[in-house]
Symmetry: C2
Subunit: 646 residues, 2 copies
């Protein structure tokens, strides 16, 4: 494997793009590109002309492409902003924002999407930006105010500023803002930038800082945290940060995390301090990378499951862990950074999206927002895979949700050689005579990420190395070729399969999948699949009636949907009805960051989504046991619907 | 002097009170009482029957008395609540609340006040309590809520509580309240007390704590801090605390305090920490004395001058100290204890009354509230003496205010033997052949308080020991009797007058008044008097037209108004037009604590009061120089009006 891939560019009429190309008659132009470059960079490096009116800033739609074949990169927030969900779903992307991840074929300047399903209300007009309008609620205004003079016997600094702002009768400024007022009014000769959030003044600064208006969206997962820094004036994403949730040492899944904090205020404070420190650190890191001052972060949107939400806010999560798993509150919360102890951004407004139920949290609401399943004419399912797997099913006629405790396996945790989707992670596996691994960053493998795990098990099932009950065929290893037989080993009393030998490995030890790893994966995928099946049963939706399954999650790298079906991470659906949507929770948080309309929609959605409790449903155990197994045949797409859909 | 005084009780018809008394024909009954006892206790100890329907809790008017002769104790908050301003001004008091301070004659069960001036709108009805209605804005309600059960798939703890409260659609609970929710809902089997302030939920507690609803009012002075703890259900004052403002070591007056903090954020933080520590300490002390848990303090009202207000909130006071002395803000502020770093009461609502101008602060607004000068038909003046002396003049037709920098002399500071009005302070002086001191607590003198200082200088002026220019007659000491001559001494190069010899003194050194002390007093009283004179000039109010002068301030002990006029602390008015009103700022803060109507009134008043800047007025210097001098003759009451009133 090399870090260079082949991108085939075609034009809408079938001729090669780039106008002045001498071989005008050729239907396509093949370009070698570095993985990780944007499509625009790949095209430009090859001398192809692609119009990028806004200067590759994601602020117009001129450079859009359609991915005709090959792995589809998940949409970015600017794809959503500029193209809207319809086109994003039809594999349209902005070439300036989207990175090349594999060999593929793309069309430049494609005609408007043949609308497969109109999820958005209203027509797909040229005013695409209005789909996620830039209405972050943050307004920065430069005013000219004069400090009180000898003629003013009876005024105050604050009144002079509000007068200049034309808001003389506004709510009084709160102490945290007032502290900045006297200096701001005098340091730049009366030029003051006033920042407000939905009309309330939240900051004043000397001079003109109207161009510096930023926000961050955070998805606090049980296992990992991701954040992105966005320019609230343009909508452009400026930095992406993330890492392991440092609470993980106190328990890998929600229940063990809750058990740790249960009834012990001090331990709750330990967990809280860990996540706050991490987020404060990510804020500083992102600001440094983007060259932004933390004081110009004015709005944050935080999503996460209910337990992460409670711990972040210092609320005892004990009862989230006990039936009936009720949260302390479900309403959205808006507080200052100071109030929630985000010390790096004391004056920013921190918005926590609402919660549906104890195990269907704000992250799920954000994913619903990002996928726009709430506006779908047909029945769709959204499967957000984290340490808990949340499933939302329905259409514009109503949505139901449930949550399945998957454990952290798909996020690379509690797997012997598991790791996040970072450089050195095996992300794809081929077994064809021997084992061939694709490793992120084209480096020697040091572990395996969630998508690699799914892929490896799928290919091992195909090769017969694992039975449909999930047993490694160690005892029958003589059935296999010498090359594969050698890889089926027993070490430290544990049966395992060697994906990469020590001499190829970046760790200088064998990278293996153990029988235990396979069991972890089975529990994870069984939980998630049974969640989907349960909602199908409750809502009486057969596989045929399920128009699309949107697979989301920040796990591993880009997931191989064929492998996901192969291991029955989801019911047997035709592959073309499965979309991998990337980290939809994080994307939804970004949308709520950029748009108060979207944030208000989240509040409405959270009230409307109906929660189905798996644990208390009499049929769950039976469905779960079925879902634990692997499908017997290789491609189940043509099989009859599973039991759940009868 | 003894600590026992004589109280003469008379009945309205002139017969001795107490019904069953054998000497029914005698017009009065003399009773010896300990100073500091309440009038009710004095009466009961002597076997007199005084009806106290509410059990001496200040909750009815049955035990009221009228002080016919002798020093009038300042009104308490319960006098205001039960009797209203009219009767308070007519020397009515509740005998259960009012303490005996000197020999006096009082009438029990007096008829309703012969209304001298109707300050209150509406008639003096039986519903006196409505005058300061108990509408603190704090409401505690006990509700029965059930923690979510297995049947509730989709609710939350907070929703169950709000539902039980009948406020399902209320504003979402903020994180600080939410933290208390899960335990509160489960610790007392669903019995939850919900505390709200003006409809917003600010706390939840397990069990029934509706009876425990308390608040504190604080007057943060430059020199001293006083606080009182009040039961918000009954209006009863439960504890009074106070002491030196510990910022004082960084400057005795406002200007030196501001100069210390100027441009130096760290020093501002030092001053802020000092006042916060002191207030937190007073909160704990008051709660301990009253047997109240700090968590049941739900509302605080804080008044103070603009500089104290800014420092308390961490706002740079630099520009309050530079012309035109503009504050950062004038609006009232309401914040949580957590927000303003009052760590002992994180969830209480802390209300800062509004500000009129840089040197006419929230304390003055509170004094206006307490004296009800805003509703007076005739022109009155209110003089609030602190380190700055604020003067408010006017009537229901409008009010003007100014501020005079008096310095801390009248609060006992920067006086050689100065002290607060505590045990050991000389509070009264008689010079009749020799010097006789009245000392608080009837103990040996250890210093002199503000009222003692005024009294001493007044009597020394009468005796000719001080000239009208303020010079100690040391050089002419041979004019005096041997006893007084001996008291005029020179020590450490300083001319001084011995009030108490070392052998009588609790400090075992002479307690003296120095020439410097007299100069400090002159500067203080000159500043205050010129403030009154200046407003008289601007508003064209002669001494004759000034219906009443209400002298307020927490300084020393009960001030002798005759002495105050003698030294020209105020213009030459007939004594009967001068009322000593006690610490009106603290009383106003208590009124705003008990009544949101009063707090709203404060906001309106602050906007309406017109500020007159002394410093920028061309006539001020001339008036000030005149006011510095002492009047030549002993009793100026019959003199022609002063220059200011011409």
């Amino acid at each position: 494997m090399s870090d260079a891939v082949t991108v085939t560019f075609v034009s809408p009429k079938g001729d090669s793009p780039g106008g002045g190309s001498p071989d005008g008659g050729v239907a396509a132009r093949k370009v070698r590109s570095a993985r990780g470059a944007t499509f625009l960079e790949a095209a430009q490096a090859a001398g192809l002309e692609v119009t990028a009116t806004c200067g590759a800033r994601g602020r117009c739609r001129s450079c859009r492409i359609q991915v005709l074949a090959g792995d589809l990169p998940p949409p970015t927030i600017m794809d959503e902003v500029q193209l809207g969900h319809d086109e994003v779903h039809e594999r349209f992307r902005l070439s300036c924002q989207t990175r090349v991840i594999a060999d593929c074929k793309v069309m430049v300047s494609p005609p408007k999407a043949e609308v497969g399903h109109q999820i958005l209300s209203g027509s797909a007009s040229a005013e695409q930006v209005q789909r996620v309008g830039l209405d972050s609620g943050i307004e920065k205004r430069l005013v000219r105010a004069t400090a009180p003079t000898d003629e003013d016997h009876q005024t105050s600094d604050a009144e002079e500023i509000l007068l200049a702002l034309g808001k003389a009768s506004a709510t009084p400024l709160q102490p945290d803002v007032l502290r900045a007022v006297p200096a701001a009014l005098r340091d730049a000769d009366g030029a003051v930038t006033v920042t407000s959030f939905n009309g309330s003044v939240i900051d004043v600064e000397a001079g003109d800082t109207t161009e510096q208006s930023y926000g961050m969206a955070f998805d606090i997962g049980t296992t990992s945290i991701v954040g992105s820094l966005t320019d609230l004036n343009s909508g452009a994403e400026l930095a992406a940060v993330g890492g392991i949730n440092p609470q993980a040492v106190y328990g890998g899944d929600l229940m063990s995390r809750i058990a740790y904090a249960q009834y012990e205020p001090k331990k709750l404070q330990t967990l809280r301090a860990r996540v706050l420190n991490a987020v404060n650190g990510f804020i500083k890191q992102a600001c440094k990378e983007a060259g932004v001052e933390t004081r110009h972060l004015h709005k944050l949107v935080v999503v996460g499951n209910t337990c992460m939400h409670h711990i972040f806010l210092g609320i005892d999560p004990t009862y989230v862990g006990l039936a009936p798993y009720a949260p302390a509150a479900r309403d959205p919360i808006v507080a200052s950074g100071e109030e929630v102890l985000l010390k790096s951004v004391p004056r920013a407004r921190v918005c926590f999206l609402p919660i549906v139920a104890g195990f269907v949290g704000a992250d799920t609401v954000a994913a619903v927002l990002a996928t726009r399943i709430y506006d779908s004419e047909e029945t769709r399912a959204l499967v957000d895979i984290g340490t808990n797997g949340e499933v939302v099913m329905g259409s514009r006629d109503g949505l139901m949700a449930c949550s399945a405790p998957a454990g952290p396996a798909l996020e690379g945790a509690q797997i012997r050689h598991g790791m996040r989707g970072a450089v050195g992670a095996i992300e794809k596996v081929e077994i064809d005579g021997d084992v061939f691994n694709q490793v992120i960053g084209d480096s020697p493998p040091i572990g395996i990420c969630g998508s690699g795990l799914i892929d490896a098990v799928a290919k091992m099932l195909d090769a017969g190395l694992i039975t449909d009950m999930g047993l490694l065929e160690y005892d029958h290893r003589d059935r296999f070729s010498a090359v594969l037989r050698e890889r089926l080993i027993k070490k430290d009393e544990k049966e395992q399969f060697v994906l990469a030998w020590a001499e190829q490995s970046g760790k200088e030890e064998d990278i293996t999948l153990t029988q235990g790893d396979i069991r972890q994966l089975q529990l994870a995928k069984g939980a998630i699949c049974s969640g989907v099946m349960m909602l199908q049963q409750v809502m009486e939706v057969s596989n045929e009636q399920l128009h699309e399954l949107m697979l989301c999650g920040g796990f591993g790298n880009y997931i191989n949907t064929a492998s996901a079906v192969r291991i029955r991470l989801m019911p047997a659906l035709p592959l073309e009805r499965i979309t991998y949507y990337g980290n939809a929770a994080a994307l939804g948080a970004q949308m709520a960051l950029l748009s108060e309309t979207e944030r208000a929609r989240a509040e409405k959605l959270a009230r409307e989504i109906e929660h189905v409790s798996l644990a208390s449903h009499p049929d769950f155990q039976e469905i779960f046991v079925e879902a634990l197994q692997f499908p017997v045949r290789k491609m189940p797409a043509t099989e009859s619907p599973s039991a759940a859909a009868t």
